[in-house]
């Protein structure tokens, strides 16, 4: 795939690098890269891939741009708010580099469409904000033989790794299963330093360019961690697991599958979300069952009158005894575990479910300042 005179000028700083040169730039032009998630990680990676001249960039994202995204998602501007991300991204990228092809996949990545989408690309970058999509992406890459550059962030911390088929371990070799307790909140709940995904997304783009051009050493079998507060990087080596469920000797996963997303929108859409004041107003009603899903030591330090303690990890086995006529209100310290509890209850068919938004911290702040909220 040869370069035009305009492209030779545009990529002159790449061409000046002996490690890339014309041959490397032509590889970039011929490459087809898919980015899953046009969020904090996807924004810088997509921008740099487009600027670098990756010939075809696919973007999977079914979300719309929200004003709260702009603090870190530098692919979008204020005028993009409410627009579908995949479409807004496509427009921005073509303005940056009209020589490339940008394909917007404005759909939710699921087991049913992952093969069809991934098969159109040479390489996948994972920038999703959901564990279910993260594991689906890894499994599909292993099953389809596609390289994967994965990254994730939380508050001030990030991590990245690269999977190349037959050359090293996959994401599941490092973390075989996602957390089941739902105790790892997403960016919306936990907050995130805006510039953090800029660092990790740029590392993903760097790995992608190295993979395509065949230069340098990749993050194969190496987990790179970054702590923005300490301003340090660490590297941890890990190996392929013989018992890996997808790339091991006897894999149990032979087809991409949708992992249950406990806190998915579908699971939670019928749940009543109560503020601390609303809960206070409802407490005297006889048809309310108040369930505190914190650990016993937290419960003992201070609890709401009439509440019973069922730690979230033990909730599933206790649901059989729940009344069908009462509203079950789940509470925890900050609202993360109780949301998981709501999802577990909803999946099990509990009819009427309510959630204390902001947890007992909100209760202490808005209703009863003498209430003691223990640390988890």
């Amino acid at each position: 795939m040869s370069l035009s005179p305009a492209e030779l000028a545009r990529y002159s700083r790449h061409l000046a690098l002996r490690e890339i040169g014309v041959a490397g730039q032509e590889k970039l032009k011929a490459a087809k890269v898919l980015v899953v998630g046009a969020g904090g990680l996807g924004s810088p990676s997509i921008l740099y891939l487009a600027a670098a001249g990756v010939g075809t960039i696919g973007i999977v994202d079914f979300d719309k741009v929200d004003i709260s995204n702009l603090q870190r998602q530098v692919l979008f501007d204020t005028a993009s708010v409410t627009r579908p991300k995949a479409d807004a991204a496509r427009e921005k990228l073509l303005a940056l580099n009209p020589d490339i092809k940008v394909v917007a996949h404005a759909v939710e990545l699921r087991a049913a469409n992952v093969r069809e989408i991934f098969s159109q690309y040479d390489l996948v970058l994972d920038g999703t904000d959901r564990f279910a999509t993260r594991y689906l992406t890894n499994d599909a890459c292993v099953l389809l033989g596609k390289p994967l550059v994965s990254a994730a962030i939380h508050r001030f911390e990030g991590q990245a790794l690269t999977y190349v088929p037959l050359r090293g371990p996959c994401y599941r070799c490092l973390f075989p299963e996602p957390p089941t307790e739902g105790l790892v909140p997403n960016c919306a709940e936990a907050g995130v330093l805006g510039v953090l995904p800029g660092v990790l997304g740029t590392i993903q783009a760097t790995e992608a360019i190295k993979l395509i051009t065949g230069v340098g050493e990749l993050l194969i079998g190496r987990l790179l961690t970054y702590d923005a507060l300490a301003m340090n990087f660490n590297e941890f080596k890990f190996s392929r697991r013989d018992d890996c469920a997808v790339c091991g000797i006897h894999p149990s996963i032979s087809e991409p599958q949708d992992a249950p997303e406990l806190c998915s929108v579908d699971n939670l859409k019928d749940i009543q979300r109560w503020s601390a004041r609303e809960l206070h107003a409802q407490l005297h009603k006889a048809e309310i069952s108040l369930i505190d899903v914190r650990e016993p030591h937290e419960f003992q330090a201070g609890n709401l009158t009439g509440s019973i303690n069922i730690p979230v990890a033990k909730l599933a086995q206790r649901l059989g005894g729940f009344s069908r006529t009462r509203t079950h209100v789940f509470v925890c310290r900050s609202g993360a575990r109780s949301l998981t509890a709501c999802a577990i209850a909803a999946q099990s068919g509990v009819a009427s479910i309510a959630h204390l938004e902001g947890g007992l911290l909100a209760w202490a702040s808005e209703v009863d300042s003498s209430f003691i909220v223990a640390l988890p």
């Binding site: 959901r130 990254a151 991590q159 299963e177 996602p178 957390p179």
Partner: protein, 88 residues
């Protein structure tokens, strides 16, 4: 034996926000027990009811991956607690 334990971001609510804490223990298990004494509940976030390392957690002593909780920890070592992150 005194070592440094690096706390992953999702577990820093247990350590009052501290990114690293000093801990005592001759083995990885001993270090986790010591942490639990001071930060109640943190051990259960890393180990399940059967005392197995949770599937979304990895432990390293310096750069060595921990397979067995009885692995030794020496004075001056750094124990890294690594947690799968989901944010994007």
């Amino acid at each position: 034996m005194s070592c440094i334990v690096r706390i992953p971001s999702p577990l820093r609510s247990y350590t009052n926000g501290a990114a690293s804490v000093a801990a005592e223990g001759a083995t990885v298990n001993g270090v986790l027990e010591n942490l639990e004494q001071r930060y109640a509940g943190v051990r259960f976030r890393m180990l399940d009811e059967q005392d197995r390392i949770r599937q979304h957690i990895r432990l390293f002593v310096n750069s060595r991956a921990v397979v067995d909780l009885n692995e030794p920890v020496r004075s001056g070592d750094t124990v890294h607690l690594i947690c799968a992150l989901s944010g994007g």
